[in-house]
Amino acid sequence: MRWKGRSLSLAWARRIVVVACVLIWMLPPVSAVPADDGAEWRMPARDYASTRFSPLDEITPSNASRLKLAFSFSTGVEKGHEAAPIVVGGTMYVVTPYPNYVFAFDLTKPGANVKWKFDPKTNASSQGVACCDVVNRGAVYADGRLFFNTLDNHTIALDAASGKELWRAKLGEIQLGQTLTMAPLVVKGRVLVGNSGGEFGIRGWLTALDAATGNQLWRAYSTGPDKDVLIGAAFKPFYAGDRGKDLGVKTWPADAWKIGGGTVWGWISYDPQLDVIYYGTSNPGPWNPDQRPGANKWTCGIFARRPESGEAVWFYQASPHDQYDYDGVNESVLVDLPIGGATRKVLLHPDRNGYLYVIDRATGEVLSADPFGHITTSLGVDLESGALRYNPQKAPKVGKVVRDICPASAGAKDWQPTAWSPRTRLLYIPQQNLCQDTLVAETSYIAGTPYVGAELKMRPGPGGHRGEFSAWDPVAHKKVWTIAEDFPVWSGAVATAGDVVFYGTMDGWFKAVDAKNGTLLWRFKTSSGIIGQPVSYRGPDGHQYVAVLAGVGGWAGAVVSGDLDTRDGSAAFGFVNAMKDLPLVTTKGGMLYVFRLP
């Protein structure tokens, strides 16, 4: 018995060793996942779940007031700086707006001197094409390489150590109105890139490139027949309205889908367990809504896909037949939440249309959709059908004045990403508080063609402030606290394990607030308004740092970065009307700021 027992335990030991070996073999290479100790920041959202949560806790509400500037660096570029600094192994990487310079800073040296600078020689004519300033939302690091996009439609891989170009892939044509502004994401050796330019009659897509070579592996269009959208047997949308053959053709008049927009200029998330990527599609364009009756699939919604094949898994359309420019490109933050007595794998998606969607990320079922901003354009989301219930009284029409369209086209929140803290279980939302009027337009003229349209004018929403920074509890369906900001909060946010949250304002304040109650702990006045994405990392000296790019611009700040005429309220699609005082409080120019405790 004893002998037999001994033999059994030997057999078990052997099995354990085998299982352990298999487990170790199955582990992804260390470089494929962000370091868990919070030292690094390898992608704009820090992790695949897009939490923008730093596990560092040296900076706390009790010491944040002592934060000091560690170093700064002028990028020499004047347009809007929306990128997140990337930090890997003692080096920080920053990509600028057009002309898309990449800087590498040596964090081990005092003052973090420039290790190398890369100039991609971006085509100057791409500037005239970009819709809303010539921004770039950042680079991404994977396996010793740095990947980023240029405004003139190139994805470029650099050797992160030397700054040497390894490959570049051309993905689109400027002449057709296409640009690239988003930050790529690298999943399973694939560089995922989406296009910009829905205003100009292009067809949106997400493309996967081989990280080793730049060769295209798949491209999933946002409109057109199922074979182009990579919809096949695996596609199981939750709602009946998204089921059926070739809806990307049938929900449009005749050939309108061929130039139907649905670009992919925002964020991508990835759930390694479910092996699914999530991203949003932009508005349908350049058609007038009256010219494109139908739901206009697959615009203004969220796609779930397999990263290896691009196959669609599910889709949810937040704004069918969009009439307001409510692009669906905002981030999806992947978290597990206790809902209805069970832990649900959900994604949190604060949409431009003003609703914070909590969606089961395995199935695409909308579990809740609560207004996080002031909404007049719709009356709620029907959870049975998933449908947005539009308010017909606010439907814009040419030749008709429609006032109090809320949120304005820029949405209750635009591209600027939220942060999630697993400690407070709150989503920190940088947002707008803007409404707009659609007025009867004057005669316009473009490329020798006279026409009439509608004139948009944005203005502050209820309360008179134009922005907010709020903390949202997705389980309790409520705003826990909010900070009213004079200007739209067009910067990203970062949450930290020290329970301090950082964000920036367009008049140039970089702020630290208490994650629990929003109390202002510290602020620093930067040289230009902030629309960048703050990040936090541990420096080679072992201390926690917080970094952000200042440099006002983007759609909201184009009045400054583009020297727009403040008398022309309809400039920048009506945004200038709401931002006439911005040039009085800030000037343009990119500057990197890095802070730490003394």
Partner: protein, 266 residues
């Protein structure tokens, strides 16, 4: 006065003199690839009108080439790159406009299946494939685009964006000529030139009844910087003086006119 000073003064005087003696310049902002209006080789009718205006002023003609797309006023005339646009709608408020020198309308360019079509009440419209120009986002559409939507003719409409290889009217007329679409609704001055070369007919489009605030005809004028009244007045006088020559240029480019006695609009 020291000789150094005297020499310096002489030098300054010389500089002033040569500055004054330099010929006057007329700086025109134009699209480098937008025939029949303009192209970088100077082959468009706006190029020819620009030469005429410069000649009348005794000025040297200089171009600033930029695709006249969104934000073009801000990037060109407002940025001080040039003094004049040769063609803008008379109602265009971004610039100070001169008097108009022609009036045209949106037109149908028809192929065999759409022969003779001129309005939106034509029963054939529902079954025809019609091309329209797409100009942008946010409720912006050409007047015929609005008209097609208002009359519920949306199912067989083909959009042609201003972005693409070559002028949009050229692509649209080629699509009619090849039978890819049955008819195209195009701004007259762009349509006439390409239609004639393709031996296709051009017919002024009648707006549908009840489509308020969406005109099909536009007066075209030149545009100068807001506040530049002197230049405006000077150009106004030139337009009056050389009206017959301008008319001849427009006729040579088959610009359909809705302002000519005898109904020269085809």
């Amino acid at each position: 006065m020291s000789s150094v000073c005297r020499n310096a003064l002489l030098f300054v005087a010389l500089l002033c003199f040569t500055g004054l003696a330099q010929p006057r310049e007329l700086r025109v902002c134009a699209d480098p690839d937008n025939l029949p209006l303009s192209d970088a080789s100077g082959n468009g009718f706006e190029n020819r009108i620009a030469r005429l205006v410069a000649e009348e002023m005794g000025a040297e003609l200089r171009y600033e080439w930029l695709p006249l797309r969104r934000g073009f006023v801000r990037k060109t005339i407002d940025a001080g790159l040039c003094d004049v646009f040769i063609g803008v709608p008379r109602e265009f408020e971004r610039v100070l406009v001169t008097r108009s020198y022609y009036r045209s309308s949106y037109v149908f360019v028809d192929g065999p299946r759409a022969h003779g079509i001129d309005g939106f009440d034509d029963g054939r419209l529902a079954s025809l494939t019609i091309g329209v120009q797409l100009v942008g986002n946010d409720l912006a559409a050409t007047p015929p685009g609005h008209a097609l939507a208002a009359t519920r003719n949306v199912e067989n409409v083909r959009g042609f964006t201003i972005y693409g290889e070559g002028p949009v009217a050229q692509r649209m007329v080629a699509a009619v000529a090849s039978g890819e679409i049955d008819a195209a609704l195009i701004w007259g001055p762009q349509a006439g030139y390409f239609a004639r070369r393709a031996a296709l007919e051009v017919r002024a489009a009648r707006p549908p009844f009840g489509l308020a605030g969406v005109p099909f005809e536009f007066d075209i004028a030149m545009g100068v910087r807001r506040g530049d009244r002197a230049l405006r007045d000077e150009i106004d006088a030139i337009i009056e003086r050389r009206r017959a020559d301008i008319d001849a240029i427009l006729a040579a480019y088959s610009v359909p006119r809705s302002d000519r006695a005898g109904g020269e609009t085809q």
